[in-house]
């Protein structure tokens, strides 16, 4: 048993740039030569050598994963030959845009960007938050454990938001290769087949979410060969908190307390690992960077945190995520300063050296700042919920982070230095492609195209996966992911009742990577529109919607790839501004590329745009499934002749068509009128037109099997299959038809068909006349065979 500190001094002051870079690689610090030179400069100034603990702490703190340095970089961007300087993607396209909206909507956003999740107002007493994270690299290597801890981590973000928020719903979004990929097509040893990834990831999410008792209510899956080597796993969780508990503060004299799981060697260097690319040795060498999840441990911690919060025993709380104690304690003590005593941390195994204890990312740990007099009551609660608590250190007001191990100081860092990583300077470019002309669709067989689409991996039912997630625990899932009269039709979003409030939380999300391949700016516009449109369609007030941006991309050192990111951000910011929907949180993941046979295979820039909306009354909750056999179907919004990014284009092998651009002002006007119509009880159901276009939207609405559906207009293939943003199909009582049309009178609106009682058929002009049960069976079948 080691009873002394175990650390080394690492001489760096005499090293050349090349030697510093070699050291960074050897220690797996993921720091660039420029970063290492900056570190060297600091230690020259301090006139001493760093300890390994200090270098590890700096590497974790400055890692892309923790510091988002690419989003902070100054970028010289060239678009179609025109140069511009982007003064930080985050600053320009997220913070500035959002702060303008915060100012225009006082009292709506209560906290953004600085905490583990951003909060918006629910009512006079409560606030809600949403946070999403990616866990891509671990899921590529160990799908079950990677996804398991991905969800576990984001749940802890919610527990560590404010003085502790209660997790009330989760979302999960995956991007995988096709589940029927021919194994012979996969290059590189040990790359896991997409089907293995799918199964492992779903089970990982299932086993964490279900055991935690947090309903998994929303999600999406994109299948694209581009994700064969770099699957993407996004996990998100929403929470609720009393408004008094949002602010948190560490003061000199507070004790730093760790609760939950013990610290071990599992999960060493996750933050730096996820800030580098994968290659075909990753599967062997990086295993120790994937952690082991224990949801019951986390459930006990959650029960403890919420009880401690309600007893007003918590001054500050944050989770141990990437970087472990070093980033949690670093965050907590960053302004105040203080001391951490490593020997006090309960360990899973003996023999950990000092830096291992400090940066281990062992799961299910939270760090709190508490008043000393609260300690007995905290210990009582910890015993009650059977979780372990230790006093790890104290805050002292010195502004310096000190770490000791058995009496020896192993780290002494001035936090003002720690938090200032050198700013990166980058170059990027985007060239608008010459799009192909519109394809001739005159010979397209509408009925077989519709059936093909319903059975397409892009559109088919996610039911086999959804049923494995407990989406009803907590008893508050008012709009479920599958609903309608048969309980198995798709919905635009999820709506969660909040205990203690009359108002509800809606969750929506959009991810359209196909659009970004040719028009990243168009993708940025479209994902904001789609998420916003979903939230309004389920009953949210369009003035009370907040957004999250979660980016994944390949190699930021590739100017074209980085250029696509810049354009995506621009589109997203334009739409968010137009809709006055601010960002309150976001995350990014880079280096999602794979090196094999001397080739580098990158994912397309992928933006998950998720959002929360406030539904002001349970009566406003609106589903996407037809409810009456005597309604009118109304389409709002304009279609487009542009088919770029659509499922139809993909099925026709058309990868270079212009993507539709939304008219944002007009769409917002539509959504406002729709919201008022929903409030006034004029809308029975509403479904956004998205993947597969109008024909698929109408088919999905019919899957409650309550009525026959007859569409008289439009009939042309482009009208039926285009995916132009802004379109929504409304089911309206016949008696209210005129009133609804009047309300939308100066906006794009038209009656497209009716529902009636009959033998359960969907008719579209003379082109489609099929039993709804047959279409539904086609839609339900595909995934079950692979999952």
């Amino acid at each position: 048993m080691s009873q002394s500190a175990s650390f080394r001094q690492i001489p760096i002051r005499e090293l050349s740039g090349g030697e510093l870079l070699a050291l960074s690689k050897q220690m797996k610090l993921s720091l660039s030569e420029e970063d290492m030179l900056t570190v060297q400069g600091i230690y020259k100034q301090w006139d001493r050598e760093p300890s390994d603990v200090e270098l590890e702490v700096i590497a974790q703190t400055w890692s892309e994963h923790c510091k988002h340095r690419i989003f902070g970089a100054q970028i010289e961007h060239e678009r179609d030959g025109v140069m511009e300087t982007v003064d930080g993607l985050f600053r320009t396209f997220v913070r500035k845009v959002s702060e303008a909206i915060f100012a225009a909507k006082p009292g709506f956003v209560l906290s953004a960007f600085h905490d583990n999740a951003g909060f918006i107002t629910l009512d006079e007493n409560l606030a809600v938050c949403l946070k999403a994270e990616t866990h891509n690299h671990p899921s590529a290597i160990e799908p079950y454990a990677g996804a398991n801890t991905g969800l576990g981590g984001v749940i802890r973000d919610i527990l560590g938001a404010g003085q502790g928020a209660k997790p009330i719903g989760s979302l999960d979004v995956f991007c995988f290769g096709y589940p029927d990929t021919d194994p012979a097509e996969i290059k590189g040893d040990d790359v896991i087949h997409p089907r293995g990834i799918l199964r492992g990831v779903v089970r990982g999410v299932r086993d964490y979410g279900n055991r935690m008792g947090i309903p998994t209510v929303a999600g999406a899956i994109q299948f694209d060969p581009a994700y064969l080597y770099n699957p993407l796993v996004y996990c998100g969780t929403a929470g609720v908190i009393p408004r008094w508990a949002i602010d948190k503060r560490v003061q000199a004299g507070h004790l730093v307390v760790a609760v939950g799981g013990r610290t071990g060697r599992d999960g060493l260097k996750g933050a730096t690992f996820s800030s580098a690319a994968l290659d075909d040795t990753s599967h062997v060498e990086d295993q120790q960077a994937v952690q082991i999840g224990n949801p019951i441990e986390e459930k006990k911690v959650a029960d403890f945190i919420l009880a401690a919060r309600d007893a007003r025993l918590i001054e500050f709380v944050t989770d141990c995520g990437a970087g472990g104690f070093s980033s949690a304690a670093g965050e907590m003590l960053s302004e105040c300063g203080g001391t951490i005593y490593l020997e006090r941390a309960p360990l899973k195994e003996e023999g950990l050296v000092s830096w291992e204890i400090f940066i281990s990312e062992s799961q299910e740990r939270m760090v709190l700042a508490v008043r000393e007099e609260s300690l007995p009551e905290l210990r009582r609660l910890a015993a009650m919920f059977e979780t372990e608590l230790c006093v790890l250190g104290e805050a002292d007001g010195s502004g310096v982070l000190k770490v000791t191990h058995h009496g020896t100081e192993v780290c002494r860092l001035d936090n003002s230095v720690l938090h200032e990583a050198p700013r990166q300077h980058r170059r990027s470019r985007w060239t608008t492609p010459n799009f192909d002309p519109e394809p001739d669709l005159s010979g397209l067989d509408i009925a077989s195209t519709l059936k093909g689409m319903l059975g397409d991996f892009a559109i088919c039912s996610r039911e086999p996966i959804i049923r494995e997630y407990d989406h009803e625990v907590q008893g508050n899932t008012f709009l479920k992911p599958l609903a309608g009269a048969k309980g198995d039709a798709p919905q635009d979003g999820a709506v969660i009742r909040i205990d203690g409030s009359e108002q509800l939380l809606a969750i929506g999300l959009s991810i359209l990577p196909e659009w970004g391949k040719t028009d990243p700016e168009g993708m940025g516009l479209a994902v904001v529109d789609e998420c916003f449109r979903q939230l309004v369609s389920v009953g949210s007030n369009p003035d009370r919607i907040a957004l999250l941006d979660n980016f994944c991309m390949g190699n930021p050192n590739d100017e074209r790839e980085l250029g696509a990111l810049v354009e995506t951000c621009r589109g997203m910011a334009t739409a968010a501004t137009a809709y006055a929907a601010p960002f309150v949180s976001g995350k990014d993941s880079f280096y999602n590329y794979f090196e094999v046979d001397g080739q580098s295979i990158s994912i397309p820039v992928t933006l998950l745009l998720s959002g929360m909306g406030i539904v002001e009354d349970a009566a406003h909750v609106t589903g996407s499934t037809i409810r009456r056999p005597d309604s009118v179907l109304v389409l709002i919004g304009h279609s487009s002749r542009d088919l770029g990014g659509s499922v139809l284009a993909r099925r026709l092998g058309q990868g270079n068509l212009r993507v539709p651009r939304p008219d944002l002002q007009r769409n917002l006007a539509l959504y406002r009128v729709l919201y008022q119509a929903i409030r006034d009880g004029l809308v029975l159901s509403a479904h956004d037109v998205s993947e597969g276009g109008l024909a698929v939207a109408v088919a999905e609405m019919s899957f409650g099997e309550k009525a026959d559906v007859k569409i008289d207009s439009p009939l042309d293939a482009v009208d039926l299959f285009n995916e132009a943003p802004g379109q929504i199909v409304l089911e309206v009582p016949t008696a209210k038809q005129e009133e609804v049309l009047t309300r939308f009178h100066d906006l794009p609106v038209r009656v497209i068909g009716r529902t009636h009682s009959g033998s359960g058929r969907l008719r579209i002009g003379s082109a489609v006349d099929e039993p709804i049960s047959v279409l539904k069976a086609i839609w339900k079948a595909p995934l079950g065979a692979h999952y």
Binding site: E386, E468, E472, V473, G475, A483, G487
Partner: protein, 240 residues
């Protein structure tokens, strides 16, 4: 008249206690939710009903409900069985049913992995067999509730026991659609006295009509689950 009092046990991993508590209070109960670490045997006397809520006690590692049973015996000895013998009522929902089965208060049966081998979250039609059960008296013979479990397939020590339970009324509740492969489609069991009842479906998730998947559901004023809690509330209130 004092309102009936219920104790809800909470084990590490129990996660349906809050909504079960909410449902029971709505039905009129006075309730306490207590982590197992702070339950003492003597305090059980204060209650007329003990409730084991759903979730994953101790992760359901080993076998669903097994570790909770061992913890109960270690901490409380025979207190739960004594409570039952003394005329107390017990309700086990989902994981709580698994725990009650392991404690040995319900007729011998095990809840094992669903035939599909998967966790299943859905709604299922149910049929009330034990019309005189104090937990089911306010319900109609046919109703539906949500289920969410991976280990809900009821099997009995001898295959023919399941049919026997149906005939002698111990199988209080059956599935209208036997999605998990339970013997004799049994969804819930009661002891011969009727005072202990366990079921896999989640009544606490269907208290309000708006919790139904069909927006237009109008079969009753409240969700069916409310009538289960109302049944036992009325029985206990009447005998108080």
């Amino acid at each position: 008249m004092a309102r009936p009092k219920a104790l809800l046990f909470k084990f590490p991993g129990t996660n349906c206690d809050a909504e079960t508590d909410r449902a029971m209070r709505l039905a009129g109960f006075e309730t306490d939710v207590r982590p197992i670490a702070v339950v003492d045997a003597a305090s059980l006397r204060e209650y007329q009903l003990l409730v084991f809520s759903g979730g994953f006690s101790y992760g359901d590692y080993v076998m669903a409900g097994r570790l909770a049973q061992l913890e109960i015996e270690r901490r409380l000895g025979s207190a739960i069985r004594d409570f039952h013998h003394a005329g107390g009522h017990l309700l086990g929902i989902c994981n709580g049913f698994q725990i009650l089965s392991k404690i040995g208060i319900l007729p011998p049966a095990s809840l094992i992995e669903n035939v599909s081998g998967r966790f299943v979250c859905r709604w299922v039609p149910l049929h009330r067999v034990a019309k005189d059960s104090p937990f089911l008296s306010a319900l109609p013979d046919d109703f539906e509730l949500p289920v969410a479990h991976a280990e809900g397939r009821l099997v009995t020590p001898a295959p023919e026991d399941a049919e026997t339970y149906l005939h002698n009324g111990l199988a209080a509740l059956t599935y209208g659609e036997n999605f998990n492969g339970s013997s004799a489609a049994i969804a819930g069991l009661q002891d011969p006295s009727g005072r202990a009842f366990g079921l896999m479906p989640h009544p606490e998730r269907f208290i309000d009509r708006r919790q139904h998947y069909d927006r237009d559901w109008i079969a009753a004023e409240h969700g069916w689950g409310h009538y289960l809690f109302q049944s036992i509330y009325e029985r206990l209130a009447a005998s108080a």
